[in-house]
């Protein structure tokens, strides 16, 4: 056996490095902007005086508070069911409404299905605006417009949801394989035809998954909207806390928490199944149904002959196997739930027309936006709101990175660790920020600190999930290739995994910042500092020109963050 002779090819002179291409001014600027944002976030943490010492000091308050919370005082079951039903009804109807409105908007907003530049632009503007205006602001406006009842809450949640749902749908449509659409075009199908018969079915899993995701978010937000009068558990909670009925309030908070976590887990499971991450088992009940179905109808044999019914007609209906029964039941159940929710939400359309006719007059009292004589104060509180958003994102990120990394199945040391951290993320995601904020207010006192902490923890839920997902979405075969060179686990992680996920990370972090600034506005209404206080107060004393001035300020901020996100993502891709 010959031993390998060490004839190694070697170039006598090393190859010179080619001139390093100069980084484009755009790239440098984008990195510069990100560093500025990071600096601003660090400054915010310092300026808001968020430090561990003061929190530890306040722990005595927490103990004192705890003693006033127990025993919890649960409302009677009947009442509880009624308010839970009311909350769920509002959220279901709002989410369905949002999906119905978002779908056409998304079709016009996606570059591959839009009808032209005008509609494309209009749809994109609708998406950006409805995302930028917090639901609380919609709620305030709609209460003014439609008066009391479920309608304002539903519209507020529904319209604001278009921002996220429409954007995700449009992105999903743009990522669809255009092949089937082209194939249908090649058979002579018209635009409506190819959209309905190729785009919509391809979109279906994403469509439902996104709707469920938004349902979770809307459920949590509806609690907050209780503070401005949207009915259900949120309103009861707000009333209990306002009247210092902490035993009742915390009992309700616990119920909301369980409801949110339950719904989050349920919809997570449904989503995982829809997106094909879970292989349907053939055992158990499904296998049983299949076996029965196989007896009902002759299973098809051979592909050369079309099957015929006993009457001799060509069979064009699938057999009732477990698959079809499940699908049928799923659709049936969904329709039933939505119908029930619509009835239960008790929408009153009788005054709708009259209210709509009042819109121009209403717009009159909102316009022109004016800070009255509060310009300085408002700008200052807006700055606090931005600081809260920045600081919360930074703190959230510090917590979310390790949690997200450990939750990613392809990075975690074992599947069990990954599952544990996934569960932690789901539980954190289930916590309504409002409840966190209230708890922190009790512990640390009023002001921006509790708001920041609440949002930071809330960020861990979303950001941790996004981090984990983007790690899992990396091409594992690339990791394999690097591993095949003999690299260690951590080398593979830095050289291949993290590297692939980096652009995604930046996009997610900026998205979280955007979310946090909007949430910071909302939490202001429970005493967490910032512009939210003035928003609620201005609407309470009917200074609607100030309300609209604040809306404009929030809008400008959110749009600026959005623009930064779009730009950096494009440049740093």
């Amino acid at each position: 056996m010959a031993v390998v002779t060490e004839i190694r090819h070697s170039t006598p002179t090393p190859t010179p490095l080619p001139p390093r291409p100069r980084a484009s001014a755009n790239r440098v600027a984008a990195w510069g902007a990100l560093i500025v944002v990071l600096g601003a976030a660090i400054w915010s943490v310092a300026d808001l005086e968020i430090n561990i010492a003061s929190m530890v000091q306040s722990l005595g308050n927490a103990a004192d508070f705890t003693s006033r919370v127990f025993p919890l005082d649960f409302p009677p079951l009947g009442e509880l069911l009624v308010m839970t039903g009311q909350t769920l009804a509002i959220v279901v109807v709002a989410t369905v409404l949002a999906v119905l409105l978002s779908l056409p908007v998304a079709i016009f907003a996606a570059s591959n299905t839009t009808s032209g530049p005008v509609m494309h632009g209009a749809a994109r503007i609708i998406i950006v605006l409805s995302r930028a205006v917090p639901d609380l602001i919609f709620a305030i406006i709609f209460f003014r417009l439609f008066g009391l009842g479920a309608l304002p809450g539903i519209l507020a949640l529904g319209l604001h949801s278009i921002g996220m749902i429409g954007k995700l749908y449009a992105d999903a449509i743009e990522e669809l394989d255009g092949g089937p659409a082209e194939a249908v075009r090649a058979t002579g199908g018209s635009r409506v035809q190819w959209i309905t018969s190729t785009v919509i079915p391809q979109l279906m899993p994403q469509l439902i998954a996104t709707a469920l995701h938004r349902f979770d978010i809307n459920l949590r937000t509806s609690v907050l909207l209780g503070y401005v009068g949207v009915g259900g558990i949120g309103l009861e909670l707000a009333n209990a806390l306002r009247t210092m009925q902490y035993q009742r309030g915390m009992a309700l908070a616990l119920i909301i928490l369980l409801l949110c976590i339950g719904v989050e887990m349920l919809s997570g499971a449904v989503r995982a199944r829809l997106l094909g991450r879970v292989r349907p088992g053939r055992g158990g009940a499904r296998g049983f149904i299949d076996r029965i179905a196989a007896g009902w109808i002759t299973a098809p044999r051979g592909g050369r002959e079309p099957q015929r019914t006993r009457a001799g007609r060509i069979r064009i209906a699938p057999q009732w196997d477990s698959e079809r029964i499940r699908r049928f039941a799923g659709v049936g159940l969904t329709v039933a739930i939505v119908a029930l929710a619509t009835l239960y939400a008790d929408l009153n359309f009788s005054t709708l027309l009259k209210d709509l006719l009042a819109v121009p007059q209403l717009m009159g009292i909102f316009l022109p936006p004016s800070p009255q004589d509060l310009l300085g104060t408002l700008l200052e509180s807006m700055l606090v709101t931005i600081q809260i958003g920045l600081a919360a994102t930074l703190l959230g990120l510090v917590l979310a990175l390790p949690i997200g990394i450990l939750a990613a199945r392809n990075v975690a040391p074992s599947a069990r660790v990954a599952n544990l951290f996934r569960t932690i993320i789901v539980v954190i995601r289930g916590l309504p920020e409002l409840i966190l904020a209230i708890v922190f207010i009790v512990i640390t006192g009023l002001g921006p600190i509790p708001g920041t902490l609440a949002l930071a923890i809330g960020s861990v839920g979303l950001l941790g999930k996004l981090v984990a997902d983007s790690l899992e979405e990396t091409d594992v075969r690339v990791q394999d290739a690097v591993r095949a060179t003999g690299a260690t686990g951590s080398q593979v992680f830095y050289a291949a995994t993290l590297r692939q996920a980096m652009p995604q990370f930046i996009a997610h972090i900026l998205y979280q910042l955007d979310v946090n600034i909007r949430s910071a506005t909302l939490l202001g209404i429970v005493g967490a500092g910032g512009i939210g206080f003035y928003l609620l107060n201005a609407s309470r004393v009917q200074a609607f020109d100030v309300v609209s001035f604040i809306i404009v300020m929030v809008l400008v901020t959110v749009l600026a963050v959005e623009a930064l996100a779009v730009w950096t993502r494009r440049t740093l891709r």
């Binding site: 194939a183 058979t187 199908g189 309905t196 018969s197 051979g302 592909g303 699938p318």
Partner: protein, 268 residues
């Protein structure tokens, strides 16, 4: 082989004809002054390097592209100038199948075949049950023909590549087309499935008297399958002759020419 006379202004209704067709995408010239006709009821194969313009040529025949310059006539329709409704009518007579099959993977096989009929139906369709019964029955017939009647209610995505291509063929056949365009129909199939699909295409084109125009990468298959071979290089027709008696070497010239686009220029 009957090739229509070259300078006739309006071609025979059964013909397909390119007259001085140039197609540019920005700075890239995908087709460069192409004049060629295809006679009815024959199997024509387009050969050429990647980027030589095969797909572009096929897509001119049913108007998915319009020429930058020159005229394309298909079955008596002036594709270069036809309006929307004329185009829909034409496309209804021209079936097309693709390398990647282009099925809606989440829909059932039967529904995918039904979409082939959209050109002659009005209004949008939502799901299998929104198609008329006659269409569903016709779709079932076509599935039986390609040997997949038993898979009618499976998700299209759950089928193997070869089976998916058969569904795509059924979708094209339900139109009862006069012309069948196939853009590298077997390029993403393994050798066994390829052979099955090519056999099916041959058989159906004979049965239905179809005009087939098919682009291929596999010279071997082309030689055994085609009546006529058209070679493209850098958007120009560099070979056009009957396939009878041709050998591998006759075809090599198509590929020997210098690289035709940036991507290839870098690849070597």
């Amino acid at each position: 082989m009957t090739v229509a006379a070259a300078n006739q202004t309006i071609p025979e209704p059964a013909d397909i004809r390119f007259e001085g067709v140039t197609k540019s995408f920005g700075s890239v010239t995908a087709l460069d002054d192409v004049s060629v006709s295809f006679a009815p009821n024959k199997i024509n194969v387009l050969l050429g390097l990647s980027g030589s313009g095969k797909s572009t040529m096929l897509r001119h025949i049913n108007g998915l592209h319009k020429p930058t310059q020159g005229d394309v006539w298909t079955l008596g329709t002036p594709v270069h100038s036809a309006g929307q409704s004329a185009m829909r009518r034409l496309r209804n007579n021209v079936g097309m199948i693709f390398q990647q099959f282009h099925l809606v993977e989440s829909s059932s096989v039967l529904e995918n075949v039904c979409t082939g009929q959209l050109g002659s139906l009005r209004g949008p369709r939502f799901g299998l049950w929104s198609y008329p019964r006659a269409v569903r029955e016709a779709a079932m017939d076509q599935l039986a023909r390609v040997g997949l009647a038993d898979k009618a209610f499976q998700r299209a995505g759950s089928l193997s590549g070869g089976q998916q291509q058969r569904v795509a063929i059924a979708r094209a056949l339900i139109q009862r087309p006069t012309v069948l365009l196939a853009d590298e129909p077997v390029a993403s199939l393994d050798p066994v499935s390829s052979a099955g699909v090519i056999e099916l295409l041959t058989q159906i084109s004979r049965e239905e008297n179809l005009t087939v125009i098919c682009s291929l990468h596999q010279v071997q298959i082309a030689l055994s399958f085609a009546d006529r071979i058209v070679g493209l290089n850098a958007g120009r027709v560099v070979l056009d002759r009957s396939a009878a008696g041709m050998t591998h070497d006759d075809v090599d010239g198509i590929y020997a020419a210098e690289p035709v686009d940036q991507r290839l220029a870098m690849a070597v």
